[in-house]
């Protein structure tokens, strides 16, 4: 057994022990998402348009994450519709951001890792970056959409404007530490590098890798923040349509 298999097995045992049946379906979601990510890499490397691959497989990732982690069908449906629309909106935001930022591909700090590789591979690195950024936001979009849809259902008719604003702030607050520290992990090595080589502030700010990582965090924060009011709006539309 290699290390990855051992880790997966341990996760399965833990999730079933803590979550029972639901834990098992959560584990299933992790495995399906893993296969989808592998498929995405293979398709993009195989010459398919990276943005198209991200949009199509992103839809499946959202469906997997939402429907396998929520038992309430109503909540799941609302969350799925909302997150799909937010994903499309994010595609636009990410497209604009990537165009202005010039952060696709590799930076000078990557040169050691690139030694011996041919870089003229005929696949658009800006497109890969858009796909990467989109995939990194999906988990956060799904999480926030489910939380809002479930929260609105609990609050029901009792929801006041102040109550909704408080719920919005709490859900965004919850997602932010996850996102922030999740990306901070990537910064750890980079910051050690910058500190050790004494990069001045202006150089860090304009550094290709730093700018890319920071922009990806900001995309995710924007995605979560958009998901919350948007899901509220969808809930309201669905309720309006039924009564």
């Amino acid at each position: 057994m290699n290390t990855f298999e051992a880790l997966l097995l341990a996760l399965l045992v833990l999730m079933v022990a803590v979550g029972g049946k639901q834990g098992f379906s959560n584990f299933l979601a992790v495995m399906i998402n893993f296969l989808l990510m592998m498929l995405a890499v293979i398709l993009m490397a195989g010459g398919f348009n990276a943005i198209g691959v991200a949009a199509v497989l992103g839809l499946v990732v959202l469906a997997t994450t939402i429907f396998l982690s929520t038992r309430d069908g109503d909540v799941a449906q609302t969350a799925f519709v909302a997150s799909l629309l937010v994903m499309l909106g994010m595609l636009l935001v990410i497209g604009i951001g990537v165009r202005y930022a010039h952060v696709a591909g590799f930076g000078t700090e990557d040169s050691e890792a690139l030694e011996g590789y041919n870089l003229l591979i005929g696949v658009s690195f800006p497109h890969i970056l858009i796909a990467t950024a989109l995939f990194s936001t999906l988990g956060a979009i799904a999480e926030a959409a489910v939380a809002v849809a479930a929260g609105m259902k609990t609050l029901g008719a009792a929801a006041s404007e102040a109550g909704l604003t408080q719920m919005a702030a709490e859900i965004i607050g919850t997602a932010l530490n996850t996102l922030f520290f999740g990306f901070f992990r990537g910064f750890a090595g980079l910051f050690l590098w910058f500190t050790q080589l004494r990069y001045p502030f202006w150089q860090v700010l304009n550094n290709q890798i730093f700018a890319r990582e920071l922009i990806e965090v900001l995309f995710s924060m924007i995605a979560v923040t958009l998901t919350v009011p948007f899901t509220m709006w969808i809930v309201q539309r669905r309720q309006g349509g039924r009564s």
């Binding site: 796909a131 995939f135 702030a169 500190t195 290709q208 509220m232």
Partner: protein, 361 residues
């Protein structure tokens, strides 16, 4: 009721344009900040792009390269206003290069008596997106946004101080130092979220406990399987020991998710008046609902992070299994150990939060 939702979101629809506006305002302002830099910056005034040259490598990858003749004007230094000619080469895929367009601002560098393109100026996009994000969050979260950014800022300062201490001190203590940093991260963030209350203590203890348990379990499994196929030496941007960096990455990466989850559980459970058993079960139920999506958040971030390099590997004729082991494997292992923490935090937080309050003296 329907109206009240609508009111929250649709009142003054023009305000949703504020984030977009702030992006472009900040982007515009940074186009004027060249005098603040000591490094020479030029703005592209005219571009002549040559014909595409076809490139084929020994793996049969087809690409094109273009050569650009670029006229550019200095925006700062003593040469401000002077016009120079630069040449720029870019490829269809753009791994290390980018086409220049009129209006682009770039850093240049003097080499052998001639100015050459050094790097893009990126502060506009970075600061513009930052402004847009803060603006959007302020619209949705109202006053709470300051608390959130305060906590993030405090953590950034903490990280910078730790890095400074680490690079100037004895590196044998690095593991202790970074663990201490994790403890401080947790304490600072929970105090920002919950204030100085018993609730904050519950969240902090549960977060640190779950993260420590997850790390112990992860490293136990590494040892038990003899690190088979796990190549810690492949960690990117290593200036010191890769093992240390890998450890720090797992710790930081999982901390936020575990903290958010413990917070969700503790807040809900500690409001309940019921007895220990009901409180514990309520906590477990909330935890089961949030753990799946939270694991997905980290999993997607950690895996997507490896896309660019994975695709480069695959196009350079490496097998899928090799690419997975060397490029994606580390992120995958880190995502799974973070997932351990997220799962373990559910019973741990429920237990601590449900524990009957001692009578205060």
């Amino acid at each position: 009721m329907m109206k009240s939702y609508a009111k929250t979101i649709l009142a003054k629809p023009w305000r949703w344009l504020l984030p977009v506006l702030s992006f472009f305002v900040v982007l515009g302002l940074t186009r004027l900040d060249a005098p603040l830099y000591h490094q020479p910056i030029v703005q592209v005034t005219a571009v002549h792009t040559g014909k595409a040259q076809k490139q084929v490598d020994n793996f049969d990858n087809h690409d094109v390269t273009h050569r650009q003749q670029v006229q550019a004007k200095f925006l700062n230094t003593a040469r401000r206003g002077q016009v120079i000619t630069l040449s720029n080469m870019y490829s269809g895929s753009g791994a290390l290069d980018t086409p220049l367009r009129r209006g682009d601002q770039v850093f240049v560098e003097r080499q052998a008596g001639r100015y050459q393109l050094k790097d893009e100026k990126r502060d506009g996009a970075v600061l513009g997106l930052l402004a847009a994000t803060i603006c959007l969050m302020a619209l949705v979260m109202k006053k709470r946004v300051w608390l959130t950014f305060g906590s993030i800022l405090a953590n950034v300062v903490l990280l910078l101080v730790t890095l400074h201490v680490e690079t100037t001190s004895n590196q044998k203590l690095a593991y202790v130092l970074f663990s201490l940093m994790a403890v401080l991260f947790t304490v600072v963030t929970t105090v920002f979220i919950a204030g100085i209350k018993r609730q904050a203590a519950v969240i902090a203890v549960a977060t640190l406990g779950a993260t420590a348990l997850a790390l112990a379990l992860g490293y136990g499994l590494f040892a038990a399987t003899g690190y088979r196929d796990l190549h810690i030496e492949a960690v990117a941007y290593v200036t010191q020991v890769p093992q240390l960096l890998f450890f720090v990455q797992i710790m930081i990466g999982s901390l936020g998710a575990v903290l958010d989850e413990s917070n969700d559980i503790a807040v809900a459970v500690m409001q309940l008046p019921a007895g220990f058993k009901q409180r514990f079960q309520a906590g477990m139920a909330i935890g089961r609902n949030v753990m799946g999506p939270l694991i997905a958040v980290l999993f997607m971030i950690f895996m997507a992070d490896t896309f660019t390099e994975s695709i480069l590997w695959l196009r350079n004729d490496n097998a899928i299994s090799q690419t997975f082991i060397w490029v994606m494997g580390l992120g995958f292992a880190q995502a799974l150990i973070s997932a351990f923490g997220i799962v373990l935090a559910v019973p741990l937080t429920s237990l601590l939060a449900a524990w009957p309050k001692k009578v205060q003296a």
